[in-house]
């Protein structure tokens, strides 16, 4: 539990259960990422031509959206530690707004691909693309739900010394989503 303005040295922020959950999630994503990399090695030509159908600038915009939401969530955590709950709620709402840019871009990309007939059964690249990015997309949606729940908790000023650890755990989940994306983005959108 963290109640001071600055985190205590050598103390794990958030709950241990959340860290174990994050490790489990990272393991699942590692298997999916490796499956993508190995299949890419087996079918380099197919992956190069299929990847060229994706727009890397959209991928960059999604990256910036997720990272900016991560910054705002981290700043909200700083405000909670300073017992400024309302400021934290505003920052979390801003994080949700920025994160919704990712959702809009991703849905636009999915709609475009489906319209072009590039669904999950089109070829091996798109099968893995839909599984990998779809699984990550679901995590983003869950992360947004958690941020929204934290925002309403902060707005009601129901965050205190006893709930600060829970707040940190919720924000950690969002950072895990960011962490996965920074590896997923170059692998799916750039490495041909």
């Amino acid at each position: 539990m963290s109640t001071s303005l600055e985190p205590m040295p050598r103390q794990l922020p958030g709950d241990l259960a959340m860290w174990l959950f994050i490790l489990a999630e990272l393991s699942v994503f590692a298997i999916l990422i490796l499956a993508f990399a190995v299949t890419r090695q087996l079918k380099p030509q197919l992956f190069a031509t299929s990847r060229a159908l994706l727009d890397s600038s959209t991928g960059l915009a999604m990256t910036l959206s997720l990272l900016s939401a991560g910054l705002l969530a981290a700043l909200a955590q700083v405000q909670v530690r300073k017992h400024r709950s309302r400021r934290a709620a505003v920052l979390l709402l801003a994080a949700l707004l920025v994160a919704s840019v990712y959702v809009a871009l991703k849905l636009g990309e999915y709609r475009h691909l489906l319209g072009a007939g590039l669904g999950i059964e089109h070829n091996t690249f798109f099968t893995l693309y839909w599984i990998l990015t779809g699984f990550h997309f679901l995590h983003v949606l869950l992360g947004m739900l958690i941020l929204a729940w934290l925002a309403q908790m902060a707005w009601r000023r129901s965050l205190g010394p006893g709930t600060c650890s829970g707040f940190e755990s919720g924000v950690l989940y969002w950072h895990m989503v960011d962490l996965v994306w920074v590896l997923l983005f170059p692998l799916v959108y750039l490495l041909g």
Binding site: Q11, P13, I33, L34, A37, L60, T63, L67, L179
Partner: protein
């Protein structure tokens, strides 16, 4: 340095590295940039710079090992 300023610097570095990744576009260097971004997220945003070293290295090695394996798969094709 105040935590808020530190977080802003982390975000600025993450933004620059993301732009650099797209500008480079190809090659093993963008995997190194991905590891650098992962380090900024774990040490900066997740505050593991203040956390137990085992957890810090565990999360950083997740990115490092994955990037290395992806890099090896790239090298096998060339």
């Amino acid at each position: 340095m105040p935590t808020s300023i530190f977080l802003l610097l982390c975000w600025l570095a993450l933004t620059c590295l993301s732009l650099g990744t797209v500008m480079l576009g190809q090659g093993a260097l963008i995997l190194l940039l991905a590891v650098a971004k992962a380090w900024l997220i774990t040490d900066g945003f997740m505050e593991l710079r203040h956390g137990p070293q085992r957890w810090r290295w565990l999360l950083l090695s997740w990115a490092l090992v994955l990037a290395a394996l992806v890099g090896l798969s790239l090298a096998a094709n060339t």
